[in-house]
């Protein structure tokens, strides 16, 4: 009974969502054609669609997508790696965490955007400055989650592994790391999202390639259609990345019980 009604409800939801989309885009198109909205400032959906289609047809957009993907991936990987290593060091060494605690707090509270120009200065206009910027965003999320994950490990679970003969390295590999991974994975959407924000904002502030650059350039030419087209491509890109993250998460968290909320639904 439930399994029968569930897909129905799902289709209903999808239909409603699609209807909302059509309504909004339709209203925009109509308003623009009737000159209620000035096309110079607001463009119109049909022009935006045409522009996006042209970008893909000519192939000029692929290079930008590639650069942004690369920056996002690198920022995510480097930021995560640093976050895990430092998170572990802090969690396993109380002295270290006590000494550096105020520095971490200040660094995390700082609006990272102010670093972007400095990174451009240091690392140039290429992908390196965007990666560095993304890393400063990703690092703290992963760092805090790793720290928490290691600290939250149940004492009895650790003792049980010890009694079974685990060395310190075994504990790290079989207990502490997986436990931290649970926390890190729970923030995967956030950290990947931040890596992407780092890449796009970095490009926007100064670069010669990437989706952020594409949008910035159109803006500089008062080309609203170009800006919206860039946003559409970016939105599609974000959607694809999010789907990828979700499938990775599913794969890695197979062992987890479904949450009570999901069960209740």
């Amino acid at each position: 009974m439930r399994s029968g009604s569930l897909p129905d409800a799902r289709w209903g939801l999808r239909a409603t969502q699609a209807a909302v989309f059509v309504l909004l885009v339709g209203a925009w198109e109509v308003a623009s054609r009737l000159r209620w909205l000035d096309p110079f400032f607001f463009s119109r959906p049909s022009s935006v669609a045409e522009r996006v289609a042209r970008w893909f047809a000519s192939g000029e957009v692929y290079g930008h997508i590639y650069v942004t993907s690369l920056e996002t991936l690198l920022a995510f990987l480097v930021g995560s790696l640093l976050g895990v290593v430092v998170g572990f060091a802090f969690a396993l060494s109380p002295a270290l965490s006590r000494v550096f605690d105020p520095y971490v707090k200040v660094a995390n509270a700082m609006p990272r955007i102010v670093l972007a120009p400095i990174f451009t200065l240091w690392f140039g206009l290429g992908i390196l400055s965007k990666v560095a910027f993304g890393v400063t965003l990703v690092f703290f999320v992963v760092f805090f989650n790793t720290y928490q994950g290691v600290r939250e490990v149940d004492r009895n679970v650790l003792n049980n592994a010890r009694m079974l003969g685990a060395t310190d390295r075994d504990l790290l590999r079989h207990v502490l790391l997986p436990s931290a991974l649970v926390w890190i994975l729970s923030s995967l959407h956030t950290s990947v999202g931040l890596a992407l924000v780092g890449a796009v904002v970095g490009e926007y502030l100064g670069s010669a390639r990437g989706l952020g650059y594409l949008i910035h350039q159109a803006e500089a030419l008062f080309d609203t259609t170009g800006v919206f087209a860039g946003l559409v491509v970016l939105a599609g890109f974000v959607l694809v990345v999010d789907l990828l993250v979700t499938s990775v998460e599913r794969q890695l968290l197979r062992w987890k019980p479904p949450s009570h909320v999901e069960e209740a639904l």
Binding site: A166, W255, K256
Partner: protein
């Protein structure tokens, strides 16, 4: 398989052990004091006492997870240093790794001993079968019932072939039927393997049904053994049937007389 240690030797000996803890208000709480206890190799000893008297603390001393403030702990005649490598420990709490399957959890001790994966897997399957969990190898802990998880934990402990088995109220959280099944399974395995067992429980009937000897711990603070009762019921036993033995009831009355006083004392002392 390692040879069981010669019977009659002393597997565990505690002499004048004291262990205290810091309390949150800055004071010191002496949980155990002047504890003397001997467990012979191959013997099944049950430890009973009121809640909070220090049973788990005593097991932790024998496991080497805690050190005594005073006194000594000997394992097969040698002073214990660090973790007790000749013992395994079935914890009261759920301690399976949630991200590993039943089989992977059981394998753990062999993995830590650098046994080859295939061999470890083969033995894990055999042990899961012995504790009645055939077909559940690939389940994750959350997909098993409480009783099944305890069986996995038992297999996890036994696969490393420990000489001494420490068990902390392992069946306390189980329903009566599951509990009796597991008690019988434990007795059967113990009968086959002749391990030394130190079994903590607050259930006196369980203690008598399983053990060779019941040791009663006094109420805390400064708890210590205040009575020892040999259990001379015939083996092999069935935990349900043995309760009907008149000698069982007689023994129960004798031990309860002592234990009741301690339970009441613990109750009155409770804050």
């Amino acid at each position: 398989m390692r040879l069981a240690s010669p019977p009659g030797t002393c597997a565990v000996r505690l002499q004048g052990c004291r262990r205290s803890f810091r309390t949150p208000d800055g004071g010191v709480y002496v949980a155990l004091d002047r504890v003397d206890l001997e467990v012979r190799a191959g013997e099944f000893v049950a430890l009973v006492g009121p809640t909070g008297c220090g049973k788990s603390t005593l097991l932790n001393l024998v496991a080497g997870l805690l050190q005594p403030d005073a006194g000594r702990v000997e394992v097969f005649g040698a002073p214990l240093e660090g973790i007790n490598r000749r013992a395994s420990y079935l914890f009261q709490q759920d301690v399976l790794l949630p991200w590993k399957t039943a089989e992977e959890n059981v394998m753990l001790g062999l993995v830590f001993r650098r046994v080859r994966r295939e061999e470890a897997r083969r033995q894990a399957r055999a042990w899961l079968e012995r504790v009645g969990l055939r077909g559940f190898e690939n389940r994750y802990p959350h997909q098993l019932s409480g009783g099944m998880r305890k069986r996995v934990a038992l297999a996890q402990n036994l696969i490393v072939n420990p000489e001494i088995l420490l068990m902390d109220e392992p069946f306390a959280a189980l329903d009566v039927q599951t509990r009796q099944l597991m008690e019988n399974d434990l007795l059967r395995i113990w009968q086959e393997e002749r391990k030394t067992v130190l079994f903590v429980t607050h259930d006196l009937e369980e203690a008598i049904a399983l053990s060779d000897r019941v040791v009663v711990l006094s109420a805390g603070p400064a708890a210590r053994p205040v009575g020892e009762f040999p259990v001379e019921l015939p083996r092999p036993r069935d935990v349900t049937e043995v309760r009907l033995d008149p000698a069982f009831g007689e023994l129960f009355r004798r031990i309860w007389e002592l234990l009741r006083g301690e339970v009441l004392r613990a109750f009155r002392l409770a804050p």
